[in-house]
């Protein structure tokens, strides 16, 4: 069941059941602040029940830092800064959900081949449902997509394309792209009893190169960074131990900025505050402007945690980007971690 909060928004309900019986249910909207905005995400694993994972999931900022310029372009912010692109049957090969004339969301079911394979047993073939919307700002156009897999994974992604930005600098037109997502957790329907842990596995050269697992509770609002050599990751879990794991497997590059402090970090964790919607250029009245101000040392105890995750890519112009940019992608994965007691498809194999 969708919460009253979701029902109050103008959104379209998406409810998809896979052949296995797994199900995703959510509300999808397109707005002038985030572009795509998903609320009330519930996952139903086969043999389980429908349980809420996230209260909200949406892009929190997209930054283009054109090399050769000292300022950055933020693509999300005040109304009109970016515009939704109305989808049609040429740009949505799945199901078109019309919220208004210009506000459309597309959902499409995709195969997930080789979901699992063991020896001579037949491979388990799976599926996922993609929910996406498209926005534009000047010559840039991007697709914000959330893939919800049959086995409970959540994979947000942003693909940037459009006509090449006009180049007015002497640096070959290259640019740094950073995308950020906001994830407001509400595991099993109540975010106030969710907590965040950081996992590290540092190498101990004095102990035979062993890696002891170190789990640190994150109790106050804070920034965090990927530590590749320590295999750092983060888990959000509730009082029953049910959780999801954010594994920064796809974070190879790190944003470097001389002006934006928050953007230098891969992750920010804040206590839920409804007015804090964008990582920067936040527009809500009587609210701070960006993560640097949101993170004020507040305790996370008894508060629903919100994770803000950022990834960076480099746009390197080549002939393949002329006249239309080959899509530049960022994506990451939220993995069920003790959400079910075993593989939800065990009985089906």
């Amino acid at each position: 069941m969708l919460s009253p909060h979701a029902a109050a928004q103008e959104c379209t309900e998406i409810n998809h059941t896979f052949a296995s019986g797994a199900n995703w249910q959510l509300c999808a909207n397109v707005n002038s602040e985030h572009g795509l905005s998903l609320t009330d995400l519930h996952y139903f694993a086969p043999g389980d029940s429908s349980r809420q994972v996230l209260e909200a999931l949406h892009p929190a900022q997209i930054i283009m830092m054109h090399h050769g310029k000292s300022n950055v372009d933020m693509l999300l912010g005040k109304p009109g800064l970016h515009k939704p692109v109305a989808l049609n049957n040429k740009t949505c090969e799945g199901t078109l959900h019309t919220i208004s004339d210009t506000h459309t969301v597309c959902s499409i079911v995709r195969p997930l081949p080789l979901l699992a394979k063991y020896s001579s047993r037949r491979a388990l073939q799976g599926e996922a449902i993609d929910v996406f919307a498209v926005s534009e700002h000047e010559s840039l156009i991007w697709r914000s997509n959330v893939r919800l897999s049959e086995d409970g994974r959540i994979i947000p992604s942003i693909s940037l394309s459009g006509l090449r930005p006009s180049i007015t600098t002497s640096t070959d037109g290259s640019a740094t792209l950073q995308t950020s997502w906001r994830m407001a957790f509400a595991l099993n329907g109540d975010g106030s009893n969710d907590r965040v842990e950081q996992f590290d596995f540092p190498l101990n050269r004095n102990a035979g190169n062993r890696r002891a697992m170190e789990i640190k509770a994150i109790n106050t609002e804070s920034f965090a960074s990927v530590q590749r050599d320590d295999f750092r990751g983060w888990r959000v879990l509730d009082e029953d131990g049910d959780g999801y794991y954010l594994d920064p497997q796809n974070s190879g590059y790190q944003m470097v900025s001389s002006t934006l402090n928050w953007a230098k970090f891969d992750l920010a964790i804040t206590a839920y505050n409804a007015c804090e919607q964008l990582a920067d250029n936040n527009q809500a009245d009587a609210c701070d402007n960006n993560l640097d101000a949101f993170i004020s040392g507040e305790s996370l105890e008894g508060r629903a945690p919100v994770l803000w995750y950022s990834q960076s890519r480099i746009f390197r112009p080549r002939t393949e980007d002329n006249p239309v940019m080959s899509s530049l992608h960022t994506s990451f994965e939220l993995l069920p971690f003790e959400w079910t007691a075993s593989s939800p498809f065990e009985a089906l194999e």
């Binding site: 979901l115 006009s166 190879g252 959400w339």
Partner: protein
């Protein structure tokens, strides 16, 4: 090496043979079987494949034909060169390719249920691989049109202990190659000592601690771009801030064998270039790029495995140097691991090999019981300046934008300019404007707005272009700038001293 058909054997097939020879595409594979895939946009891949006992899937003579282009060799060989698994308790380390092998007895015979929408491929009477066509992410998007990347997917499965490894290669219709490994099967190692900090106890299995571990995949890529195998160059690029706070690219051409590390803050990337011209920017050169963007994990254990300190290696091709580690097991007269292969040999004029590593740290979770869902790792090999333009646009139907007529413009020097030109597009595509021949001080933004202040006078012939991303339309108009008023920096204030002088002289008389 290609097996050449002699002209004497060319009978009824002569015309086809001659055409193929002229295109320099593999007709037969000296070892293995040929796969040819053509896409709707006109791109084509030709690949030879086989399964061997150690590495399983080996690809060779990989040719790519861009849309409306000519076939060109990309890789003479591509394969995994080691599958290294290190457990967090450090008690066990596996080098699966050399200790066990991925082919032979470890090769899993595939069925149609493993390959439901593809074609099973036979190697030595066994259904060793599956070939199928996949649709992936956007490869471009415009306001009113979008295209998904289509790929030829080739995979094989190896069962090593409890693990099932899916060795996969994707070849896209825009020239991208994506090597992947899928890790599935079941958890391998556990301990009865539940208090050890090297793993986790899972739900419903209270007496077992399943151990965390890292998979390290090493790929061996023998690039032979274009017509010669010995004129390729590898370069490393980085982005650093200069003294003005501007991010600038720096690049280094490698002239000797090298072992390199990622640098996330510098956005390190590696470029394999086809005979670049002297002094040519790597951004203009024809070749391929590998960006380590899927590098959130990185196993370094340099005391025991010194090669783990590095992520990317460039060496001179040497048949003796076959595996990334434990090479001496099979080649006792050769060096033992990839870091040892880096021994200052010159890369100039040599056939180069690139070795790339990707790591994945696996923390066991209850959802891994009893069988794990596939975790995929890999990277992209992307073309740079291989195509004339965006390859996905090839063959797309389009109606060109229509630019409104623009009348002759007349302004005075110093006038503030603010007016808009218009265009329409029957496909409702996004439009971008540009212009040449503008008077100094005047700009045309991509949305069609003229702005600025003319700083010179004269008669100008301006050409305005509007692009919908596929086609371009143009209009020419005349723009006359008369001398008119000067800028406030010259004439605007030159009368002030005169006034002041007149005022001061009047006051002097009064005094």
């Amino acid at each position: 090496m290609l097996k050449q058909l002699s002209l004497l054997s060319c009978l009824m097939l002569c015309s086809w043979f001659n055409l193929a020879q002229a295109q320099n595409v593999a007709l037969e594979c000296q070892s293995g079987e040929l796969i040819t895939q053509e896409f709707e946009n006109g791109a084509q891949w030709n690949i030879c494949w086989e399964s061997r006992i150690r590495e399983n899937l080996i690809l060779s003579d990989i040719y790519y034909t861009p849309p409306e282009g000519e076939p060109s060799l990309v890789l003479s060989e591509a394969r995994l060169s080691q599958l290294h698994v290190a457990y967090d308790d450090s008690d066990v380390t596996y080098n699966d390719i050399t200790q066990f092998g991925l082919g032979g007895g470890y090769l899993v015979d595939l069925t149609t249920e493993d390959c439901p929408i593809g074609e099973l491929l036979i190697s030595q009477t066994r259904p060793a691989a599956c070939k199928w066509l996949a649709t992936g992410e956007d490869n471009f998007r415009m306001r009113n049109r979008a295209s998904s990347a289509h790929s030829l997917n080739l995979f094989s499965v190896s069962q090593v202990g409890a693990y099932a490894y899916i060795i996969s290669w994707l070849f896209y219709d825009d020239g991208v190659i994506e090597p992947q490994i899928g890790a599935s099967g079941a958890l391998q190692r556990s301990s009865a000592v539940l208090t050890l900090p090297f793993g986790r106890v899972l739900q419903g299995d209270a007496d077992t601690l399943w151990l965390s571990h890292t998979h390290n995949y090493y790929w061996h890529l023998d690039f032979d771009l274009g017509e010669s195998a010995t004129d390729d160059v590898v370069a490393e690029s980085r982005f650093e801030f200069d003294e003005n706070g501007i991010r600038q690219q720096q690049s280094t051409l490698l002239t000797t064998e090298a072992a390199l590390q990622i640098d996330p803050q510098s956005a390190t990337a590696w470029h394999i270039l086809d005979n670049p011209a002297a002094g040519e920017s790597i951004n203009r050169s024809r070749g391929y790029i590998i960006e380590p963007t899927r590098y959130g994990h990185r196993l370094v254990r340099e005391e025991t495995e010194p090669y783990t300190e590095f992520d990317f290696f460039v060496t001179v091709a040497n048949d003796c140097e076959r595996f990334a580690s434990q090479n001496a097991r099979f080649n006792p007269d050769c060096k033992n691991h990839v870091l040892e292969y880096v021994d200052d040999e010159s890369l100039v004029g040599q056939d180069l090999v690139v070795w790339h590593r990707v790591s994945f740290h696996h923390v066991p979770r209850s959802e891994d019981q009893r069988h794990m869902h596939t975790h995929w790792d890999g990277f992209l090999i992307e073309p740079t300046n291989i195509h004339v333009s965006s390859p996905a646009l090839n063959g797309l139907p389009n109606q060109a934008p229509q630019l409104d007529a623009i009348s002759t413009q007349s302004h005075r020097r110093g006038d503030s300019i603010d007016w808009h030109t218009h265009a329409s597009d029957a496909d409702n595509d996004q439009l971008a404007f540009s212009a040449t021949g503008l008077p100094n001080g005047i700009l045309l933004s991509s949305d069609g707005t003229f702005s600025g202040t003319a700083t010179e006078y004269g008669d100008f012939t301006v050409v305005v272009s509007v692009s919908d991303g596929i086609d371009v339309s143009e209009r020419t108009f005349d723009w006359n700038i008369t001398p008119g008023k000067r800028s406030s920096g010259a004439l605007g204030y030159s009368w002030v001293p005169l006034v002041l002088l007149l005022v001061s002289r009047r006051r002097g008389r009064d005094c």
